[in-house]
């Protein structure tokens, strides 16, 4: 997959930091700022917000065009994540939240493991099913029985 150049990434990254910084500054001036000697609750977050804006501007300003396309930096030089995998993981977490709230631990466990496992293109539905069943056993024995997790195995409604 082609990843955007460092040049663009630094622009986006800088812009994101400016945005977050501005948001924090805006939110903190709603609280009382106070004086240096008697700071209100808004003073410290406001200062951080301003610093973040400065940081973001500097990041964008120091963005460089890619002269050498080689060697991505040590660390996370990812492009876009794989959409099917990412979406399945997110859906899995949402399903855990929903099922955990209304149906109990076992349905929730099944949902998060099965849906996440289906996100991997090399997993067949049978493998995902077996894995979810195995994790349901772990959930029952380790978490519900041994660690006394405060979530019933099955329930109906909130």
């Amino acid at each position: 997959m082609k990843s955007p150049s460092h040049f663009k990434k630094d622009y986006y990254g800088g812009a994101l930091m400016v945005l977050v910084g501005l948001g924090a500054t805006y939110a903190s001036v709603q609280y009382r700022l106070g004086t240096l000697a008697h700071m209100g609750p808004g003073f410290f977050p406001c200062a951080i917000g301003v610093l973040m804006v400065v940081c973001g501007v500097l990041i964008a300003a120091s963005a460089r065009s890619d002269t050498a396309p080689a060697a991505p930096a040590v660390g996370h030089a990812h492009g876009m994540p794989d959409m099917r995998g990412a979406i399945c993981i997110i859906l899995g977490v949402l399903a855990f939240l929903l099922f955990g709230e209304y149906l109990g631990l076992l349905p929730a466990t099944f949902a998060i493991v099965f849906i996440s496992a289906m996100g991997d293109r090399s997993n067949s539905w049978l493998q995902a099913l077996l894995l979810s069943l195995a994790m349901m056993a772990v959930a029952t024995i380790v978490f519900w029985w041994a660690l006394q997790l405060q979530l019933p195995l099955f329930k109906w409604g909130a």
């Binding site: 990434k9 630094d10 977050p45 660390g75 492009g79 794989d82 996100g119 991997d120 997790l149």
Partner: protein, 522 residues
Amino acid sequence: MMQSLQDLWFGFGVAFQGSNLMWSFFGVLVGNLIGVLPGMGALSAISILLPLTYAMHPVPAILMLAGIFYGSQYGGAIGAILLNLPSHPPHAVTCLDGYPMTKAGKGGTALGITMICSFFAASVGILVMVFASPLLTEIAFKFGPTEIFSIMLLGLLAGSTMSRGSPLKGVAMTLFGLLCGIVGTDVNTGSFRFSFGVPELSDGLELVAIAMGLFGVADFLLNVNRMKVITANTSLRIRDMRPSWAEMKEAFWPMVRGTGVGTLFGAMPGTGPTITTFIAYALERKISKTPEKFGTGMIAGVAGPEASAHSKTQVDFIPTMSLGIPGDAVMALILGALLIQGIQPGPQLITEHPDIFWGLIASFWIGNVILIVLNVPMIGVWVKLLQVPYRYLFPSAMFFIAVGVFSTQNNLFQIWEVLAFGLIGALLMALDFSVAPIMLGFVLGPMVEENFRRALLLSRGDMSIFVTRPISGTFIAFSALLLVGVTWSAWRGKKRGKPQESIAEEVLASAKIPAQQISQAV
């Protein structure tokens, strides 16, 4: 001196108590297990098991966390040497010579050398800790809010600028972490900040949720369907793990030098373990009579970095425990675990909780022995475990994360936080930010703010107090020097027309190993 030895003796008494010993063993075992698994490092291991400590007594809790830490670190070396897969960033450099040794049929020897080096280095690190911590504590008692703020500022700056990647982005991430730390109730006035009317946020964000989101979910989001399928055809016997006398001799000085590097860097708050191992490797290459042979399976290339990683691990606990300033994200998590237990790390820790401090130190030694005893017979199991496919691993880990976070407060709300931080982490990593400084900022944030406010309250709003008080002024001066140095090197890098490279990348480039190979699992 005598006092320290007596205290250490007391510590052994604590660590040898049945349940403490058991939890220590459990930590080392689980840490080792998770450390071996591809794509899981100390950070994910500790985040996943952190909820377990909520219900525990503080002493076994901290012993277990420490055990997980060095257990997973050793586990990471196994993957690096046998499969060229650094699941924990500091081991990236171990791959360079460890994997060629495996290809030459000497993988067992490399593991054996690693084991000896880690034991030696940890022992030295422990000794340094025994004698340095009380001294440091004595100094730290003279610290008021002004000094604490200044040293925390230095720690935060060092942590964000000296770790991997662009220093500017590191600072931005630390600031973001500080911002996350503000969410909740303001201690001084009691007003809610950044809680957006959500009652669950009035207690602030959950440490475990942030850690699991950033180091677990975010990684999965980015790496699913991207992790290469691993096939290992190594079979290892216990006999293979004993290095020959000649090999021991070859490893000895690199081991001593590596330990020195690790100790030095451990004492500096904010320098990450990755940098430390890369410097140890670079040093060995520089000293060696045959630098061109590095990358082809040199014992020194394994012994030096591994020793440095393990001595740093131990020495890292000094600033964390005695000053309350974590050196990296793992230490930030351990600090957070202490805070959750109601224990304030800092100069008073050693006197107020001698059982925790000295018990911890003693347990390091015991844990390192357990590590050796455990790994010799278990090595075959680890090799098998390395082959657990990622496609089974991450769905199971998602379940552990969800249940683990739920159990911290018996509330599903924290899972929303995990999801949010997973998405934030993935976005930031995709934009080439390193997320580890967020942890540092988050854990230190409340303390930084409190001390900043208190110092200015005492000086009646006079900012000059930070530079006019001698100890505080020194820290501020160091911070300024650090900023100037980082800016200078970034500017020079820009003038040369190529992206500013960290030391790690320079070493990698000179070792002629494609960075891609390493960045994959890092």
